[in-house]
Amino acid sequence: MSSLFEEVVEEPAVQVPVKRVSMTVNGARRTADVEPRLLLAHLLRQGFGLTGTHTGCDTSNCGACTVLFDGKAIKSCTMLAVQADGHEVTTVEGLAGPSELHPIQEGFKDEHGLQCGFCTPGMMLAAKALLDENPDPTEDEVRWALSGNLCRCTGYQNIVKSVLWAAKKLQSQQPAG
């Protein structure tokens, strides 16, 4: 995993013990040897090749790097990879089934919930965390839940519509009674 730090040239090669971490990512067991300072976002992207997790601001402001950590939305640029040892992580790659999109993805497609698409993975995972907890949110509740995710294109209107669309779809899939 030393290749993740290729670009570091100015620092002496201090001997820091590399930690072996194991976690469940999108349902599959993944193991890696990481330096403690490696961020979870970088392990997911460079280590596991899951580049759907975007690093936007890299300062905990924008939410593009949002993933689910044991089912809760967190900013993966603000967590160390070693902290995920033994935990469960869901990235945007874990949303869709083998043959069909997740209703949240369908919602973003149907309601034009994205333009450039950079913030979309984070938006969708924040939306998933919301709908898992509150399957029938109001528009205000959707806006509140997404307030940690920034979008510079859409003005948010269609993102909110997409999430409400997904909520309806998910509810219609629930068995009656």
Binding site: V16, D58, T59, K75, L80, Q83, L146, G148
Partner: protein, 288 residues
């Protein structure tokens, strides 16, 4: 961005954590929610030799109320737990009002109240809330446990009085003798930004008379401001329009705002006055 290299330890017991901090001899930092520390590491404002991650310590994720009304918040209780707390909704209006205003919803899933107090950001929200409530921080170290009033706990911007081998394990809010009332209001440019102005008001009322008052301000000085004169002006009488106006004026006087990109000093002072008035007026309306 990535931090400088450090040694990482994730102990399973508080005793092991304290032993590691003792070994660290001032060069080790405790990692709890990490929502302030990790950004600081990435920006390289902080470069500790060792991080002691306390997330695996058992039994610190609680918040509860004792029979005497004392509220206790463990070091791993997240802001989101407090935001959804039935205990706070029923028992502690100032904390209940503040919890949903901390950072943004995703940060609230990780960040902790106790960590926020330790971080001692002059623009932090919880320090003002806990100051207004007269709360304290319980530290545990090699020498045992001690409770430190939050006013003494914060020794300056981003500084606290913890010894190198001490961990802040709990925040304690003393039980009220009257019925608790109050609130927290925050002006921010957008969700997740630092407070332009934050105002915490914590009262206890008995028979329409204020028996205890605390008012604390964030974002308008080099550290959290305990507006004691403003609070004293309320104690011993009912919440009349006159008393509210006087307290709001005194709180605005206590503020030491500076003009910056978030607003002029006069503007921020005006907001302090407005917030104190608004919270207190709401209390009178709810009591009626």
């Amino acid at each position: 961005m990535y931090p400088t290299r450090f040694r990482y330890e994730a102990p399973r017991s508080i005793e092991d954590a304290i032993a590691l901090l003792r070994d660290g001899d001032g060069e080790a930092k405790v990692l709890a929610g990490g929502q302030s520390l990790v950004p600081l590491l990435k920006l390289r404002f902080a470069a500790p030799e060792m991080l002691v991650d306390i997330n695996n310590l058992p039994g610190l994720d609680y918040h509860r109320v004792d029979p005497d009304g004392t509220i206790r918040v463990g070091a791993l209780c997240r802001h989101a737990d407090l935001e959804r707390s039935a205990i706070l909704a029923a028992k502690q209006p100032t904390m209940a009002a503040a919890a949903p205003l901390i950072a943004d919803p995703i940060v609230r899933n990780r960040g902790t109240l106790v960590g926020s107090l330790c971080h001692a950001d002059p623009q932090g929200d919880w320090a003002a809330v806990v100051t207004a409530l007269g709360g304290s921080v319980v530290a545990q170290g090699s020498a045992g446990r001690r409770a430190i009033p939050v006013a003494d706990f914060v020794s300056g911007p981003f500084q606290n009085v913890l010894a190198p081998d001490e961990i802040a394990v709990e925040a304690v809010i003393p039980g009220p003798t009257g019925s608790p009332a109050g609130g927290y209001l925050k002006l921010e440019r957008r969700v997740g930004d630092f407070a332009t102005v934050g105002t915490a008001v914590a009262l206890e009322l008995a028979g329409g008379v204020v028996t205890r008052a605390g008012i604390a301000l964030t974002g308008v000085g080099g550290s959290t401001i305990n507006a004691t004169d403003a609070a004293s002006a309320l104690v011993g009488g009912p919440l009349t329009a006159d008393a509210i106006g006087r307290a709001a004026d005194l709180a605005a006087t206590a503020a030491q705002p500076r003009t910056d990109h978030r607003g002029s000093a006069d503007y921020k002072r005006h907001i302090v006055r407005t917030f104190v008035e608004r919270i207190l007026t709401r209390v009178t309306r709810e009591a009626a």
